[in-house]
Subunit: 98 residues, 2 copies
């Protein structure tokens, strides 16, 4: 996982909205597109950025390709913040008691 790609992918409202939609379950690109006043190619572009960041995966089910959330990557980003904010004292240079 590249944190650069992940943060870049998250720096867009539409992409964050797509991720929220996928929280509700896997969706095809067409189903995702229905939620936005946007062309399908635009949605495909956003989905590709999310895929490159590994935030979503595409899975073939029958004839359709479904997009699903990869929550592992979210965990890793949250870990970065957790670490950054010093929650994980002891692992890094020493901090408060804990």
């Amino acid at each position: 996982m590249s944190l650069n790609n992940v943060f870049k992918a998250l720096s867009d409202n539409t992409r964050r909205e797509i991720l929220k939609l996928l929280q509700g379950g896997d969706l095809t690109a067409g189903e995702i597109a229905e939620h936005f006043a946007m062309t399908k190619p635009s949605i495909s572009h956003h989905l590709n950025v999310l895929k490159q960041a590994n935030l979503v995966q595409d899975v073939r089910k029958g004839q359709n390709i479904y997009y699903s959330l990869n929550t592992t990557v979210f965990q890793e980003v949250v870990c970065w913040f957790y670490d950054f904010l010093g929650c994980s004292d002891g692992r890094k240079n020493d901090g408060d008691e804990g």
Copy 2:
């Protein structure tokens, strides 16, 4: 705060390193630049991106301008993840997403 700007600012190794440096205390642009094999103008550019995202603030102390971390914004980003990952179900109902 614009989450777009925050995530964009975080999508760069150098900028994330600068934020880590500032964890140790406020620094001038010159002091920050010493830690990188980069020109001062490049560092200034990164500092500006961080400032635009409100992740750092500049504070005049005597003759120098010091950069300091704005941890409030980190909290807000962590809140976004917290919310996204469903830790806070019930706190927010519907979509005034900004």
